[in-house]
């Protein structure tokens, strides 16, 4: 009788182990499926319409022109500008929070920043749409257009700031305090110690924050489509309606079918490849930081 009970336990152990193993393998399975579906649909399309067409500069569905080059450039523009703004301001903020801020305020501000990191991107997009776009249109824009690269970059910069602040603040906090004390002991001022010793020592963590924010910015859709305008043209200035890759996908998504819809999938493949490359950079940096 005892034996039967143990037989049952043994079977249960084996079954549960199998279930857990399945769960663990699920993430690989899902990743495989995503790659499979994307490439299966996207790559044949690119070869069908021709690489020259697909990476060309004309997006005109009626002519079967599916060139996304302008959008790649726009994506890069917006990402670069927003990261530049976001990282500069975010890093400076992290440095202030790290040493130049009253300790009591730091805790409250950190809580607030953590909360802001969780706010939906569509809210940032809405903020851009009802505040930044009209403001730029009325006060700054030379041509009376508020939509475009500058609006999108500002919105994205504000959106990624909380992430940059918390990641780089963690990196700064991880620097041993003996570095700081050592610098002070040599007669350096507080400011010198922070900027010359601590910030360089936290370099890899800060770089990780930069790559992370690039990833967020290039992949962000909703915040961008609300303020970018959407004309598939080559970006020439800050105040001009353009279209990023993500905006291209989302804007056409609900209306298209047939070849144009597959063109969106192919755009997604390009975006996917971009972010995978970024991910690889990120993990290399992370591993580099460990050593």
């Amino acid at each position: 009788m005892m034996n039967k009970a143990y037989q049952f336990i043994r079977t249960r152990e084996a079954v549960m182990r199998g279930l857990f193993l399945f769960c663990a393998s699920f993430s690989i399975l899902a990743l495989g499926c995503i790659c499979f579906f994307l490439f299966l649909n996207g790559v044949p399309f690119i070869t069908k319409v021709g690489i020259a067409n697909f990476f060309g500069t004309e997006w005109h569905l009626a002519n079967a022109s599916y060139g996304i080059f302008n959008m790649i450039v726009a994506s890069i523009y917006v990402t670069a500008l927003s990261t530049a703004i976001g990282v500069t301001v975010g890093l400076m903020t992290a440095i202030c929070l790290f040493k130049f801020c009253p300790k009591k305020a730091v805790f409250a501000l950190r809580q607030m920043i953590n909360l802001l990191a969780g706010i939906p991107s569509v809210i940032y997009g809405l903020f851009g749409l009802i505040i930044i776009v009209p403001f730029l249109r009325d006060y700054l824009s030379p041509n009376g257009v508020g939509y475009g690269i500058l609006s999108a970059s500002i919105v994205l910069a504000v959106m990624v700031m909380p992430t940059i602040i918390s990641v780089s603040l963690d990196a700064l906090n991880a620097v041993p305090s003996s570095y700081y004390e050592g610098a002070l002991a040599l007669g350096a001022t507080k400011e010198q110690s922070v900027f010359k010793i601590i910030v360089p020592a936290a370099k890899s963590g800060i770089l990780a924050a930069v790559v992370l924010s690039i990833g967020r910015a290039i992949g962000e859709t909703m915040a961008v489509i609300m303020v970018i305008g959407g004309s598939p043209v080559m970006p020439k200035g800050l105040f001009q309606s353009v279209r990023t890759m993500t905006a291209n996908i989302a804007m056409g998504a609900t209306e298209l079918s047939g070849d144009p819809a597959t063109a969106l999938v192919a755009t997604g493949v390009v975006l996917f490849v971009f972010t995978m490359l970024l991910n690889i950079c990120f993990s290399l940096l992370k591993n580099g930081g460990k050593q």
């Binding site: 005892m2 009970a5 143990y6 336990i9």
Partner: protein, 253 residues
């Protein structure tokens, strides 16, 4: 397994990957005896007792050769049920490790594992085990409170009660008092003297006075070998081996 729970080990070697942790162990331990294992840190005492309830299975790259049997049953046999073995060979750890649940649930854990669900049966087991562990009077009116609220000594006695509730035949104790204050230590030593009526006890200790106070037999370990094993009084007063003598007189370790 028959009713006699003697431990019999012959030609046993244990390796942690390349490290030869136990060398040519031969030992017989009779039932209803308290055996103290003494020796300097890292000499294999804990490894030895973990071998008896196969806790070493949890360690990576642990390899064991030789014959280890309890009550005539080879405990490393393929068809042996490891859970049944561990039920019969209870263990108390160096640091008290009560589960973060109520005192009641802690002790009911093992009986429930083995299929006892009826409340009155469980109540009886819990009262009995707590009485055996000398904790009943202290906790009887707060059985539903979290066990983490007990003091260190109480936690350790709770762990003993928890092990007893599984109805073991052999009780392994890995320095059970090393994390406790002298008063709690005294209580646990008294407890061991009572428990040996019913159980075979193997206890690792760093404290030689403790070994003389509580044990019938003592085994001296050094660098993975058993140097000497015999009656506690003999081993401490008339050690046969030079190394044992140096150790018990405090010249090293």
């Amino acid at each position: 397994m028959d009713d006699r729970y003697n431990v019999s080990i012959s030609d046993c070697n244990l390796y942690y990957s390349d490290f030869h942790a136990l060398k040519d162990i031969n030992i017989e331990i009779e039932q209803h005896e308290v055996t103290a294992l003494i020796g300097p840190s890292g000499c294999g005492k804990s490894t030895f007792i973990k071998m008896l309830n196969r806790m070493n299975d949890l360690v990576e790259d642990c390899k064991i050769t030789g014959n280890i049997s309890i009550g005539g049953q080879d405990i490393y046999a393929k068809d042996l049920d490891i859970n049944l073995l561990r039920k019969n060979v209870g263990m108390v750890f160096q640091k008290p490790n009560p589960f973060p649940m109520s005192i009641y649930d802690n002790i009911a854990f093992a009986p429930r594992t083995f299929g006892i669900k009826k409340k009155n049966e469980l109540d009886d087991i819990i009262e009995h085990s707590l009485k055996q562990a000398g904790l009943w009077l202290e906790v009887r009116d707060r059985l539903r409170r979290n066990a983490m609220g007990l003091s260190g000594g109480q936690q350790q006695r709770l762990c003993i009660a928890r092990a007893l509730a599984a109805d073991p035949k052999i009780l392994l104790m890995d320095e059970p008092t090393s994390a406790l204050d002298p008063i709690s230590t005294g209580k646990i030593e008294d407890l061991i003297s009572l428990l040996k009526q019913e159980y075979t006890i193997i206890i690792v200790t760093h404290n030689m006075q403790q070994a003389t106070r509580i044990s019938d037999k003592t085994a001296f370990f050094l660098l993975g070998e058993i140097i000497e094993h015999g009656k506690t009084d003999d081993l401490f007063s008339l050690p046969k081996d030079k190394r044992t003598e140096s150790y018990v007189t405090g010249r090293f370790g």
